[in-house]
Amino acid sequence: MMRISLHNLSKYFGDVKAVDELTLQIQEGEFVALLGPSGCGKTTTLLTIAGFYRPTKGEVRFSDRVVNDLPPRERNIGMVFQSYALYPHMRVFDNITFPLKIKKVPKKHWGTKATEVAKLLEIADLMDRVPGQLSGGQQQRVALARSLVKEPDLLLLDEPLSNLDAKLRITMRAELKRLQKDLGITTIFVTHDQVEAMTMADRIALLEGGRLQQVGSPEELYDLPATLFVAGFIGTPPMNFVEVSLEEVEGRLFVITEHFRFPLLNGIAQKVHRMATSREVVLGIRPEDIKIGQGKIEAEVYVVEPLGRDTLVTLRIGAVGFKVLAPPRFRVAIGERVQLAFSMERIQLFDKTTERSLLL
């Protein structure tokens, strides 16, 4: 098992800063997601950890050893690629035992090792097929088996679920998580899907534009997003944002817009006092943290979308749209006026220029 640390890691391609000053510690046995939209630098980071790219600046450390110049084959890592990258000309058995062959492991051990991982991944009956005859899910299992057969210190997964259909993706999500916990191998995976990251990872590192936005447990990112970007990226439907002004009235801090005003809770107000540099801020509130049918904020129903488990209602307060998750059987007509209440303790506030949270 291995600790990984990235220290001010930067990777430039010409003028493009694909990864910019990334610092991140990954503990032994931890399951970490590199999350972000496409082009955010997550895959570049992964390929740099694997050793395919050399850092422009900074260091990659395995345990305490700087491995910047170590070629991939000497890092003892396992990797599953988005396209699985199975060798099309080899049978499944040959694919799985290929790392052993290259490592010059004696041939007599191949069988037992291959059977072991094949059993683990339930592909024992596919050994004689070639990749072209396998379904996407089977190909992925073979790719996993190939990466695990050499007992790597570190497992890297590049968009492991993106080539599977929706149903299989949900099954594999749980299976991968369980497998990682059973084997205890330090694992880093890259995804653009926040649900995948939230469900599987112990910790998420969210990147945007080559920079680390926030790193923390799924709950931390969800409950206390460090930046406007994190707040908007994590959670479906996404968080609602509205520009508001802050005003102090009789010792209490009020949020004020054209259409509503309310005082902040004391705990939040104290943090905001400390952090805010301007009265103009952005307020964020998640759809499930708004209650319909109570409270003092007036809104107009714009669209109602039943989702089964709950109902998604889009409302208008003035010109600003809000999405609210209402109970499943909630019925309301378009154009109807309703009352809203925000869960005060769930409110997020962000600086308008730096886009950083005022609650941290």
């Binding site: 390929l47 084959r73 690629f81 396209s83 099309p88 000309h89 290929f98």
Partner: protein, 280 residues
Amino acid sequence: MWARARQWWNKVASYLVLGAVAAPFLTMYVSFFLRAFGKRMYLGVVPKEFGFANFQFLWRPIAWGLEQTTVWTALGNTVFFAVTSALAVTIICMLAGYALSRIEFRGKNFFLVLQLFLHAVPGQILLIAIFFLLFYIKLLHKIPGVALARASLEIPLGIWMAKGFFDGIPWDVERSAMIDGCTRFQVWYRVFLPLVKPGIAAVFIWGFLFAWHDFIYVYTLLPGTIKLMSTLIQSLLATEVIDYGYLAALSLIYMIPPLLLFVFLQRALLRVPVFGGKGV
């Protein structure tokens, strides 16, 4: 009405023009076969009988002037020459094509552009120097030496061909092999070569065909006593009395092996592997 007539006339005119240009060539090609298989020509063009009399060289020696050889010696020499040359082209281009497709190194782009230029420079104008060079390194008048010199002519384009085939393999396959512990050479040998079999066949056929067809290198750099098919036919063509039927038959035999090779290699190697998932 007029438009339709004009359209019809346009169509007929294009058939007439193409037909008129093609006619002499069709006459040549058809007469070539008639001449090879014909016996006792009527008016010198149409055979009165068909037979294999012109193919007597298959079991008799070929003689001209004071010299003589057999078609089998010439075919053997040609096979040796063409296979040596094609092997050299294939191995060299497969090595370089991989590096040019996958490895970053200084001067790579320059090298690739240079190949296009070299391809434009015909080897035949450098023959005197190549003659001297082969003489100097003691490879003149030897089939392998001349085959190597001939191979160099196909390398510029062969490198681009090979690079193209390697370019088609997803980067993830290469990364995967490297993660699995391969050195660059192992990636090339164990993973990439099996995947570009069709490319290997194409480059080999390419190299073989040009060497098989070569005349000027063989004629200039090998002694008159070592006859390949091309120089043998040229020698017979340069004698006082030319038997065109005999030459047509010999030419036909000369043209068969590349066809066989093409059919054979196509069967054996042109199975293209499929890559699963999204190619990256």
